[in-house]
């Protein structure tokens, strides 16, 4: 199994956030993780990449137990994480940001080549490579965040609300980017409020409710409205 989570419990202070999450994620798929605000989606992603420590349960990535490992070791195994809220390094240039994306890699020539490739793939980054990334627009920053994660050469990419605060036009662009990445062989776990974006590209859908996976299905099995009712309208 690619990524398998078994009976995961995570507390935030005294508050129980995850109460026995179990899920299996297949290689090469886009998995959409849905759930109301505060249901623990971000916590789950952070626990996978070692930013939170679980109370109990296990997380295995390609048969390696990764819960308890440090973030940098988890990254080396091939899991990258795009945090919620467009977390770039605002006081550094676009180029420096991209270099940081490759922080855990050694081969300098390859890194330089990948940066060039990234600038070609996202021309706006190429144009603004010398600019301070904090001065980029919201959409450009989101592109940079994705490029940063790609620089890690991960096999699995966790994305936390990539569309947050972006205009509908940019949301479409993000959707195209994500499907493109997936076609190139990247597996993706996507947390997304924008159901249309999420459902149009996801293979599998998981719904997190009361600290557990309440429901999972193939994305083609239900229509968007039904999902919306499940999650937002409390159906």
């Amino acid at each position: 199994m690619f990524l398998s989570i078994t009976d995961l419990f995570v507390n935030y202070g005294k508050l129980e956030v995850l109460k026995g999450v179990s899920m299996e994620i297949e290689e090469g798929e886009i998995s959409l993780l849905l759930g109301a605000n505060g249901s623990g989606k971000s916590t789950l992603l952070k626990t996978i990449t070692g930013l939170n420590r679980p109370i109990s349960g296990s997380i295995r990535f390609q048969e390696t137990k990764i819960n308890g490992m440090a973030s940098y070791d988890i990254l080396r195994l091939g899991i990258a994480h795009i945090l919620e809220g467009r977390k770039i390094f605002p006081l550094m240039t676009v180029l420096e940001n991209l270099e940081l994306g490759a922080y855990s890699r050694k081969n300098k020539r390859e890194i330089a080549r990948d940066i060039e490739a990234m600038c070609e793939r996202f021309p706006i980054l190429g144009q603004k490579r010398k600019e301070q990334s904090g001065n980029l627009s919201g959409g450009e920053q989101q592109t940079l965040v994705i490029a940063l994660a790609l620089m890690t050469k991960a096999k699995l990419l966790l994305m936390d609300e990539p569309s947050q605060g972006l205009s509908p036009l940019l949301v479409n662009e993000i959707a195209n980017t994500i499907t493109g990445l997936n076609r190139d062989g990247l597996s993706i776990v996507l947390v997304e409020h924008n159901l249309r974006l999420g459902l149009s590209i996801a293979d599998k859908v998981y719904v997190l409710e009361n600290g557990k996976i309440a429901f999972e299905a193939n994305s083609t099995d239900l229509s968007g409205v039904e999902y919306a009712q499940k999650i937002y309208l409390g159906g």
């Binding site: 605000n37 947050q164 605060g165 924008n194 249309r196 968007g224 937002y232 309208l233």
Partner: protein, 265 residues
């Protein structure tokens, strides 16, 4: 017909008037020219995607930070420029998004402490714990118990707030706000993360609060709660108000559904 006339009647008694409210953080516009009217004794739901500016709106109304421009009027009195504690004195109570409580206090003390601004005995007498002061404190304790009875927390009164379940924590947050005896209550995500059963309980309480004559403003993502319990709904997206109306109207508004859920059809 009858409900329509009631609506008109309500509109004539505006409690809160927000005019052209704008807030910039750095270069980012969190709120853009927002107008909002809230009538007496109504429950107004404010919905919108994350980052739409809902909490910013609350924080400005409650005096936690000043707007870049625009005004907020409460019962005909300008609120802009007042500190948060002064706004509370005007009769506006609020809860916070995360369960913001006095975590190390008991449930009872959480509510009892919140009576701070209702004491009338002068402070030097408070220091001497004179009989009048003790009587006053007795009254406050009684009122605190009344609130706990009203909100259904009486049985939990000796527990530490941090040991409550998340549902009870949300109710405690409302109880604290009620202790300030508000005419307008701002609730920031009062049922988020709660189970359907607790959602019913909390929203039932909110309705009960409204029935005592308090106006309620709710930010919430739980659409069922909003649709079932709010009299009217306003929708924020990207810092602007994109729609306002009865729940039925909002539920049918394509623009709203698109902006909020990204769902078509």
């Amino acid at each position: 017909m009858a409900s329509d006339t009631k609506m008109i009647e309500k509109k004539s008694k505006k409690v809160l008037e927000v005019r052209k409210l704008t807030k910039h953080f750095g270069g980012l516009a969190a709120l853009n020219d927002v107008d909002l009217d809230v009538s007496e004794s109504e429950i107004l739901g404010i919905i919108g995607p994350n980052g739409a500016g809902k909490s910013t709106l609350f924080n400005i109304i409650a005096g936690f930070f000043p707007p870049t421009s625009g005004t907020v009027m409460f019962k005909g009195k300008e609120l802009t420029g007042l500190r948060a504690d002064q706004v509370a004195h005007q009769g506006i109570g609020r809860t916070f998004q995360a369960s913001t409580l006095f975590k190390q206090f008991t449930v009872f003390d959480n509510v009892f402490n919140a009576f701070h601004m209702h004491y009338r005995q002068p402070p030097w007498k408070a220091l001497l714990h004179t009989r009048a002061v003790r009587q006053e404190e007795g009254t406050m304790k009684q009122k605190a118990m009344e609130i706990l009875n009203f909100t259904g927390l009486a049985s939990q009164k000796d527990k530490l707030a941090e040991n409550l379940s998340s549902g009870y924590q949300k109710i405690l947050a409302i109880s604290i706000a009620l202790a300030t005896n508000p005419k307008l209550l701002l609730l920031d995500e009062p049922v988020t993360t709660l189970s359907p059963h607790m959602v019913e309980a909390v929203m039932g309480l909110v309705t009960k609060v409204r029935d005592t004559g308090t106006t309620v403003l709710i930010i919430e993502h739980n659409m069922k709660a909003i649709m079932d319990y709010c009299d009217r709904i306003a929708v924020l997206a990207y810092g602007s108000k994109i729609a306002e109306g009865l729940p039925r109207e909002i539920g049918e508004n394509k623009e709203v559904v698109e902006a909020y859920l990204g769902v078509m059809g």
